[in-house]
Symmetry: C2
Subunit: 398 residues, 2 copies
């Protein structure tokens, strides 16, 4: 990690890992250190729980079942039903523990922070210590496989202020977020059984965000996800057919065509992919064959910080609207996905890239997934990649 | 087709195919015949169109591009942007042309109907007569393939009344709908280049339905959809590994386990699949290895009509709510998908079955697709298939 970010590791009261990523004084130099205890009366999350009759039973984690019709794992995480849902501002669990704040509900021990990462209190993926990670038959039937969903879910807070989104931050803070993503990817990949690390952000109520505080998530899956599996399969077939590298050739084709390029820097290309499927979609790919965020050089990271923010700003100027007689722009809901290579032999077939997509197809109109998309996986787009690119190039600011 | 339904084929003014499926007098006996002309001043939809300078140019159809990273076709149907969106009741284009009705906007020439099917005015898939169905390179780059989306989209109206949904109809009218699905599947499969026919219904504003009139859709794809491709791949691998038939063995396992069965009749099984991924999900599978709806026997169709309606009724009793101090139930939004075998050599690997799923996870709460689902295709379920089955069995009425 670059020297300008200081990482401090600690644990929350229930045993979850918690990391500060500091880029400001007096923390980054070490002049002042972070609070390392969490005074909340939280029980260790792996302690036995009491059932209705008062008997202790071991805590259970999420599970996953292999769907025999599609070959895809489906995670079952029932305890998430009770997760925090759009809390009022004074019960924001991602706010720093400022004097007078409702700290009992909060996850951040210190009175301020730059960027923090910690294990999700309501994880979809979790390894229970000591629980064997074994695949077994469900209901004693060999067509169904079930296993612990022994992965890990982390939350990344982009900053201490409820109303200051990633897009409003400067490149310096954005760089800290990149350092945190890179650090967590490297560490999570080292956990036994983890196949793939996924850094992402769900942004906006329209796509179901349950907490307004600017944050993203990091999932470490114990299996290769369907989309990654598709890309690996395509890349392997492409290599067999042509001897070439699929990602390299797709990027080269986008640059030769030039029709959908939104921005190009020394190390990165931002473009609308030729077969985009969402009302707004952008890919951001490094020119070098890099597998994961932590393999990026210092210079690549620095450029990324700038490009990433310009990309978000362009997205937020895509739709012009009128509000109270004034012309302004619609802040779009989006999903941002970092596609990183899986751990293991298939790693060399993938290249790191980012996908940003939005379901906003017009002001007041969302793209919904109907039968074709959600029943058959067959996408119908109402627009063309070229129209999306034209509009983005119109509003994009260097 | 059973003698109790009479099919009458006609054409709309712009050349689209239109079919009446009558099950009531005086039409079913032929005593009275259907109106066969459409007096609207609609231009033939394949006639040349004028551009901004007044020059005629040939009409173009939707296209599709092969996404090199996933191997999936993405259809681009830009003209759908202007499709009818939640019209007021007096401009309902699916209402019959009753005296005094705003007929100019309507698609149904006659003054009443039982069930009708016609080509969609805003199709996502359409073959332009004479246009060669050829795959070519996009932008001259061989990594990208583009082709006409030369399929067909039809609309099926379940009945003439705006406020009478499929669930409110009796088994006799439901049977007519089944006959119409079966008939259209058989005919659409015969069109050159069609690989797969998909009968489905999007129900409820929460999933983006743009017309309230009770209707479904039928897509004839010129390619095998991703979900079907997955099932074919799984079934082939299962056969290679075990010598068995995947669908047969999944159904047998569900019956042996019994844990998620909602209903079983002589010819059908209604169940929550062991690896369900939606807040509510049911599969309905025939016990016999049938490939498409038109292969069902008379007895199988009759049973299906009854089971289908009971299934919809159970879905609509899943969530109890209070309205004005009264206990009642929430009408759920849902997507209903008929998975039929594709045309060609892969046909024998698939079995016909229906999937009904809802994104309603609680009253007032929807399941949204976040980064894991829409970025990675990795599903996280908040509930268990067993809990869904328990609730459905509680409210299911024979």
């Amino acid at each position: 990690m670059a020297a300008r970010v200081r990482k401090t590791a600690t644990k929350l009261a229930d045993g979850r890992d918690f990391f500060y990523f500091d880029d400001s004084e007096p923390y980054v130099s070490g002049e002042k250190t972070r609070r390392l205890d969490d005074p909340r009366p939280l029980q260790n999350r792996f302690a036995p729980v009491k059932d209705e009759d008062g008997n202790e039973k071991p805590v259970t984690g999420p599970t996953m079942r292999l769907d025999p019709l599609t070959g895809e794992w489906v995670v079952i995480a029932t305890h998430r039903m009770n997760r925090t849902f759009l809390p009022p501002a004074d019960a924001n669990p991602l706010a720093p523990a400022r004097p007078g704040a409702a700290y009992q509900d909060g996850e951040i021990p210190d009175t301020d922070y730059d960027v923090v990462v910690f294990e999700n209190r309501f994880p979809s993926l979790m390894q229970i210590p000591g629980e064997p990670v074994e695949v077994s038959d469900l209901d004693g039937q060999s067509v169904w496989k079930v296993a612990p969903a022994a992965g890990r879910c982390e939350v990344i807070c982009f900053g201490p202020d409820l109303n200051r989104n990633l897009v409003d931050m400067g490149p310096s803070r954005m760089r800290t977020v990149i350092e945190a993503w890179a650090d967590r990817t490297r560490e999570l990949e080292r956990i036994e059984g983890i196949k793939q690390v996924f850094c992402f952000e769900n942004h906006g109520e329209a796509i179901g965000v349950t907490l307004h505080h600017p944050h993203g998530q990091i999932y470490a899956y114990p299996y290769i996800t369907p989309r990654t599996a598709s890309m690996i399969r395509q890349a392997r077939q492409y290599r067999e057919n042509t001897g070439g590298d699929l990602f390299n050739d797709v990027l080269a084709a986008e640059l030769r065509s030039g029709r959908r390029i939104v921005d190009e820097s020394e190390h990165w290309v931002l473009y609308v992919p030729a077969a985009s499927r969402w009302p707004i979609e952008m890919h951001l790919m490094p020119k070098r064959d890099v597998k994961a965020l932590y393999e990026l050089t210092d210079e690549e990271r620095e450029e990324l910080a700038h490009l990433y923010l310009r990309m978000l700003k362009a997205g937020n100027k895509f739709f012009e609207i009128e509000e109270g007689g004034q012309k302004t722009y619609l802040e779009i809901p989006y999903v941002m996905s970092w596609h990183q290579a899986p751990v293991g032999e298939e790693r060399e077939l993938m290249r790191l890239h980012m996908q940003l997509h939005s379901i906003q197809r017009a002001p007041g109109k969302l793209k919904y997934l109907g039968g074709s998309e959600s029943g058959m996986g067959a996408w119908i787009s109402d627009t063309t990649p070229e129209k999306i690119a034209d509009r983005l190039r119109e509003v994009y600011e260097k």
